[in-house]
């Protein structure tokens, strides 16, 4: 069923909301919200959609659920960042407009640039984490990914906590260990035939259970 059709409906059933973009105020969000207003169980929930896309909340909830994360700081002050962490650091946006990517900073001037840019001229805060290894960005489809075991575990656990079926995860690999850093929506063109095959397999499993699918 198409999302717009569902938004007009009053179906009462379990809803699997499939979308590449679950950002707040976008159709993917409204589908989950509408399902909840109707009293349905829905994956993902509207609360999880917001939480997963706000890096500090993602990290807080993830660490509570036992997912490895680095310490983080939410601030708009470069001084405070420098007193908390040594370089290099990775900076994520916490503003209403940026939803993809991150910046790494190896020195003070790069950090100033990153905070100014992602904080939109210091109007918003940023979320900063120490960078102790390399950043790996990968697709997570129903918690599955084609990465090593540490990253696979992160992907599965993130899906378990937030239930976002389709997304991109950012993690730090430090030796054999991995730490969750961020989550962002996938662009349509990033979803390839292999991913579609995986999505179809999951859908057919759920359809066999008689669930309603919206996407």
């Amino acid at each position: 069923m198409r999302p717009t059709t569902f938004l007009r409906s009053s179906i009462k059933d379990f809803i699997l909301n499939l979308n590449n973009d679950y950002r707040y105020l976008k159709t993917g969000y409204y589908v989950s919200m509408h399902a909840e207003v109707l009293g349905n169980r829905v994956i993902p929930s509207s609360e999880s959609i917001i939480d997963a896309n706000r890096t500090p909340i993602l990290l807080l909830k993830a660490s509570k659920a036992g997912i490895p994360t680095m310490p983080y700081l939410v601030t708009d002050s470069v001084k405070r960042i420098m007193s908390a962490f040594s370089f290099p650091v990775v900076v994520f946006a916490v503003n209403p407009f940026s939803y993809d990517g991150f910046r790494t900073a190896n020195n003070k001037s790069a950090l100033y640039r990153a905070v100014k840019s992602l904080g939109m001229n210091y109007k918003f805060t940023v979320c900063v984490q120490p960078l102790r290894g390399e950043i790996v960005s990968f697709k997570s489809i129903f918690g599955k990914c084609e990465q090593d075991q540490a990253l696979q575990e992160i992907s599965e656990k993130v899906y378990g906590v937030f239930g976002i079926p389709i997304c991109k995860l950012h993690a730090q690999r430090v030796g054999h260990a991995a730490f969750l850093c961020g989550l962002q929506p996938l662009k349509k063109e990033e979803v390839d035939s292999q991913d579609l095959k995986l999505i179809m397999e999951e859908i057919s499993q759920m359809s066999n259970l008689g669930e309603h699918l919206v996407g």
Partner: protein, 292 residues
Amino acid sequence: MAKIACFVEKYNFSDPREEKALQNFKQAAARLGHEFDFMFRENVSAIPQYDAVFIRATTDPLFTAYVVSRTASELGLRVIDDPKSIRICGNKIHQYSLFEKYGIPHIPTLFINKEEFHHRQILEIFREFGKPVVIKAPYTSFSRYVEKVACETSFREVALRFFRKSDVLTVQKFMPTAFDWRVGVLNDEILYVCKYMIPKGRWKHGAKLRGKPTVIWGRTFSMKRENAPAKLKEVALKACQVIGHGLYGVDIKEANGEYVVVEVNDNPSIYSGYEDLRNKDLYGKIIAYLAD
């Protein structure tokens, strides 16, 4: 003794009446034996050091205020505004869907979505609600992103502008009144009641001067909550129960003796000499709720 953090932004201190209200909260906390500190965005990491968080900065699920609220809530702190209230009040689509579901009397409302936006739909809306109609973006606050349109061209122009940020918008019947009731509610109890007057020749409480960035606000008349109409208070409480048990400012229109909810706002304005004029105890009540 409870330690209360009040999350504010610099703009909360730009209006002397709001600054005075914030100082009143601090004094009320001291009087009740609690600690009350202002917390700015550079030190939100200090949240775990407090027992409760009171948010006065503008809330929206996309703003830092939501991160503060969600963090405090995850850590088990009492928080005004709580994350659920921010989610529902910060998104009018969510709010009106709940009003519809629970039968809360509200202004006749329709939703339009970006994908199905069409000439025929605009005609149908005008046929149903008449002209003009009010288009409201889901993230509206302080009378912003609410515009009145009377023809298809302006409907299209406003809707396309609001669609840039949200895929769904609300369209409402135009109900002109001389004032909107504002009922302050805390934890299912009436906190204060006032009338937000509509400036002369305008149709909403905060109106922009044509071609200028200046916003003119209508006057505010406060009254003792005991003197407010019982039916008004009943409608306000009913609307809040759909959302939660926090602090809300309910906007209500009175037409032909009936009360209809315009919207429920989390993070309601509290300015010294306005909302508190006839209900001075509101500061103490909010502090006591946070410290409980």
